[in-house]
Symmetry: C2
C-alpha cells in the first residue's frame, strides 16, 4: 500500500516536472494555443530546421516589425504625436506668438478639430517646431525624458510600458532562432531609437523609420549632425519596402504589421514564391486595449485585412490569441 | 656531449615553437611593424580590455571603412565607373542613337576629354542608362557577372581581387574583437553589395553608400523595387556622417579612409572627446600599386592629409607599412 502510494507520488512528480519543463520551453507563453501561435511556431521551425526544403540560412533570416499598433499601443493617438503636442506646450512660453498662430493655437487650446483642419501643412509645422533644430542625440534625450514622465490617458502608465507582451516574446523567440529583428515604422527612426534597445532589445542599427533632413555641420567648433525642419523620407506604405532595402539590402522572410501602412511591406515579403510569414495584428479587444480596423482614424486596417485572405497572412485576433496584452512588470 | 646537444636541440625547438605561435597570433601579418600597425593594435587593445578607462561596450564598437582606395583599388578610374563605361558599350547595339549623342558618343569612342566635358550632367545620364531601369537584385546580378569577366588594365586581375590584403586583416581583426564593420562609401550601396559579403565578409546591411531613387511597384503582378534614373542620396564628404546616422544611428569609434571624401566622416568619428581611431591610407607605392595624393583626379587626398596632423589620425604609408598589397590567392 505504502509502495503504491509512493509510486503514484513519484509519477505525479514526474508529470509535474514534464509540465513545468514544457511551460519553461514554451517560447510564447502569453499566446493562447490556436492558429496564430501555431503559424508562427510552424514557420520558425520549418525555416530553421537543417535539411528542411524551406531552410533559410541565418544571414537571410530577416524579419521586420511595424511599431505603432504592432509592438506598442497607438491609440487614441500615435505616441509620437502625443510627444509632439506635449513639446509644443512645453516650448510655448518661448513662443508667445503661438497663441495666435495655427496649428500651435489649436494644440495649446486642445482644439483637435482646428488641428485636423490644419492638415499636412500643420503637421509639418509641428514636426519642424518639435523635431528639428537639434542633434539626433539631443532629440533622443528629449524623448527619453518625456517617456519617463508622460502617462497614457487611459492606462496611466508610461507609454513604453504599453508594449505588447506577446510580441516581446515573438521578438525573443525569433532572435533565439537566428533571426535579425528589424523595426520598419512609419514613425521617426530617431524617436524609436530612444527606447527600442531597452524595451525591445532592438539596437539602433535595426530601426528603420521616417527621417527628416539631417545635415553635417560644425557647432562651437565641434562636428555634429543637425536635424532640419524638412521631411526627407516617409517610411510608410510603399515606402516601407524602399526603406528596408536602403538599410538591410535584403527582402525579409517574415513581416508583422497591423494596418494599411504595412500592406506593401507584407506583400513584398510574402509574395516571393517561397516559404514566408506575414502576420497582421487585429485589434479586437476593447476591454483590455482597443477594438478597431476598417473605420479607424489611427491604424486603419482595411486593404491589408482583405489582402490577408488573398495572401494567406496570419491574422492575430488580439482578444482570442493573447493571454495578456501588456507586461505585468515591464 | 650528447646531453648538451640534446638540450640545445630542445631549446631550438622551443624557440621555433614560440616564433610559430607569435606568427600565428599576429592578427596583422601583412603589416610591417611600425607606428601604423602599433596604433591600430593599441586602439583595439585599449577599447576592448575590461576595466580600461577607454573600454567601449560591444554594441558601440562601430567602425566604418571607405571602400574605393581604402579597401580596394580606385585607379586609374573608380571601379564602378569602369563598370558604367563597359555597360554603355554592352548596351550600345540597342541604342544606335548613342553614336551621335553625348556623353555616350564619348564613351563609345573612348574620348575621355569629351566625357569630362559632359560634366555632372553627363555622369547622371550614364548612371541613368546603366544603373536604373531594373530591380536591385537584377542590378547586383549584372555587377557580379561583370566582375567575373572584367580585368584591371594594369594588373590583369579581376577588380574584386584587387582588394588590400592588409585591410582584409584589419576587418577580420576588428570583427574578432567585437567590432561591427561597416562600409561607408561614396560609391553606390547596391554596387558594393554585389561583392562585399564574399570579398570583405561584410553583409548587405552593413554597406552604406550612395543611392538612386527606388520605387515600390508591381511588375507582372509581382511586388518589386525598381531603380529610377534619379540620384537620391550622395554618401560622400559631409554626406558620410549623415548616411552612417541613417543606417547605424550611432557615431563610430573608428574610421578608415583615404581621400578628402572621408574628411567629415573622420572628423565626426574622432573629434568626440574620447578614445577613437582615425586612419588615412596614403597611396605611396607607385611600384606595387599607385602613388597619389594632393593632385590626384581620383581619390584626391589634400585637406584630409592636413587634417590628419591636426586630429592625430594614423597615416598609413602603403610603401612602408604594407608587406603585401593584394592577396596572393584571393
Amino acid at each position: 500500500m505504502y509502495i503504491r502510494f509512493a509510486r503514484l507520488g513519484a509519477m505525479t512528480l514526474v508529470v509535474a516536472w514534464f509540465s513545468a519543463a514544457a511551460a519553461q520551453t514554451d517560447p510564447l507563453p502569453s499566446w493562447n494555443d490556436g492558429p496564430a501561435k501555431q503559424a508562427i511556431v510552424a514557420f520558425v521551425t520549418d525555416v530553421t530546421r537543417e535539411g528542411s526544403p524551406d531552410f533559410v540560412p541565418p544571414p537571410e533570416r530577416i524579419v521586420t516589425f511595424d511599431n505603432d499598433g504592432t509592438l506598442w499601443i497607438e491609440q487614441p493617438i500615435y505616441v509620437q504625436f502625443a510627444y509632439a503636442l506635449d513639446r509644443v506646450k512645453a516650448l510655448a512660453p518661448q513662443h508667445p506668438e503661438w497663441k495666435d498662430t495655427q496649428p500651435f493655437k489649436a494644440v495649446l487650446e486642445g482644439d483637435m478639430a482646428a488641428l485636423g483642419a490644419a492638415g499636412e501643412k500643420g503637421a509639418v509645422a509641428i514636426v519642424a517646431a518639435t523635431h528639428a533644430g537639434m542633434t539626433p542625440e539631443e532629440f533622443r534625450q528629449g524623448v527619453k525624458e518625456w517617456l519617463a514622465t508622460a502617462r497614457h490617458p487611459r492606462f496611466g502608465r508610461r507609454y513604453d510600458e504599453l508594449v505588447y507582451q506577446p510580441m516581446l516574446e515573438v521578438l525573443a523567440y525569433m532572435r533565439a532562432n537566428g533571426f535579425k529583428t528589424y523595426i520598419a515604422s512609419g514613425g521617426g527612426a530617431e524617436f524609436i531609437r530612444a527606447f527600442a534597445e531597452e524595451r525591445y532589445g532592438i539596437p539602433s542599427e535595426q530601426v528603420i523609420g521616417s527621417r527628416i533632413v539631417t545635415r553635417f555641420e560644425r557647432r562651437d567648433g565641434k562636428p555634429i549632425l543637425f536635424r532640419m525642419p524638412q521631411v526627407d523620407f516617409v517610411d510608410d506604405g510603399p515606402g516601407k519596402p524602399v526603406g528596408i532595402n536602403q538599410v538591410v539590402g535584403r527582402r525579409p522572410v517574415a513581416a508583422f504589421g497591423n494596418s494599411d501602412g504595412d500592406l506593401e511591406m507584407l506583400q513584398w515579403t510574402t509574395e516571393a514564391g517561397k516559404r514566408t510569414l506575414g502576420v497582421v495584428v487585429h485589434h479586437t479587444d476593447a476591454e483590455r486595449e482597443y477594438a478597431y480596423d476598417r473605420q479607424a482614424h489611427v491604424g486603419k486596417l482595411d486593404k491589408a485585412l482583405d489582402a490577408a485572405t488573398v495572401d494567406r497572412w496570419t491574422v492575430v485576433d488580439m482578444k482570442r490569441d493573447w493571454k495578456t496584452v501588456f507586461p505585468v512588470r515591464p
